[in-house]
Point group: C2
Chain length 310, copies 2
Amino acid sequence: MVMTQSTLRMAVAPDLDGSATEVARAAGADVVPLEQAEALAWTVSDRDGFPDPLPPGVRWVQLPSAGVETWLADGVIDRDRTWSSAAGAYALPVAEHALLLLLAGVRRLPACVTATTWAKQALMPELGTLQDASVGIVGAGGIARALIPMLSALGARSLAVNRSGREVPGAAMTVPAEDADTVWRAADHVVIAAPATPDTRHLVGRHQLELMGGNGWLVNVARGPLIDTEALLAALDEGLLDGAALDVTDPEPLPDGHPLWTHPRAIVTPHIANPQVTLRSGFHQRLADNIERQLAGIPLLGLVDLDNGY
Amino acid sequence: MVMTQSTLRMAVAPDLDGSATEVARAAGADVVPLEQAEALAWTVSDRDGFPDPLPPGVRWVQLPSAGVETWLADGVIDRDRTWSSAAGAYALPVAEHALLLLLAGVRRLPACVTATTWAKQALMPELGTLQDASVGIVGAGGIARALIPMLSALGARSLAVNRSGREVPGAAMTVPAEDADTVWRAADHVVIAAPATPDTRHLVGRHQLELMGGNGWLVNVARGPLIDTEALLAALDEGLLDGAALDVTDPEPLPDGHPLWTHPRAIVTPHIANPQVTLRSGFHQRLADNIERQLAGIPLLGLVDLDNGY
């Protein structure tokens, strides 16, 4: 239950450079020590030094990550107070990275980057395009809403899969999770953008990879465990798809010597879809928005739902 | 002067697989041997076997390339008949490649592609984004019209330079060629998309690179000689810009051992912005459109203007 309030006593921690404190103040919060706070803005994605236990006076915690699955799994996020994440705050940079990974795969950029000779004739017949392609987006939330207009501008169609099947604006088709096979079958390429929950673990396994039918790229900008890595490696070796471009892996960090590092059909980026510059600006924006919402009695953005698990 | 006509006798050459002949017929042409033809559809970008001299009965030649500068320089294109190119027919795939090159540079994809260890911490502070960036597009024709909506979807602004300064739809600013410095100064990144003419040779030299002011990526999807390669190499070494991503080079093909192949700030792709699949579909579309236009008495698309040089 959120009520209009005239002041908000918020602790901001850790805040080495003072910028988050400044954002909180500008949005209307009184920045106070934790013991006097009714809200806490936690500014870093790791949990070292997170107050344990939280003072009972803290009724709301704003976290800086979009995905909070480890905070949930470890029981840090409780039902005693309101928790909000930055889910959706980084949708644009993450969609940008998904688009880069997809284009880099379809247009064989790794072969170009490592070449030291003009291999035009060998490359030309290998190259694809997103023009007239259909791209499945599995887990169609904020990232999908940012990605779909990018794909449209490139002349590609988006096929969305979400929990409810409720139509996603700009998608040529939206299906509920239980009908995801339809999209795996119809799409040329698939982007994974779903939250990590117990339900979405190994969302992509042998069955889905077989439905890709011998070509197309699989892109993951969500969380590593959504893909069964062993099944993916086998599928890549068998040529069930053209390739996989992964910003997140399982295990993560991907250990030295892992076959994905050197697989000719794999592109790996080290969980950088949301670079420092947008991590900072996106979190600050979310913090300011939620302070203003809290003061105005409007529901917070990125409210963590313990029943959905994100 | 184009007049409505009820038939069009067109030769199609070379057409090994018969597909261009089929397209021409479907669009309403009578496909005939060259000696009886009033029009010629030339289907390959190289000139080996191009009829020399052309029978005087051939009043119109449709070429498959977007840029026809070598045909002009060598005097093949004459004032005795109408010549049309495929300028604009490949705008979407070329813009797609420009976007890939720009994103790959800004997000340091080459470092990821060659990595065999999880270098997240080292990479994060290096990474940029197109969100809130401004991208100059020098030579704002068809490629720019395709690229601008892509950039808009990514949250970037487009700053256009064209010959006339006539406003380009969707651009935040359009300036005429003589004011290009304004864009070189204001833009974070610059994409070169101008035709190759005697006027545009070395359009990018020391002066323009200095205006980039220490960061940003330069992308070339037009023609190699638009950039002074020696000036670019010096600027890259001095750090006048973050990097250059080039689909076209001067010399081209880029010879083995050229410093651009291994320069840490350079990405080279071997003139593949327009892959085989879109080269074919784009040319067929242009051929069909122009046959229909010729029959309807509507001005042809991609009409070569000998005075403009493209």
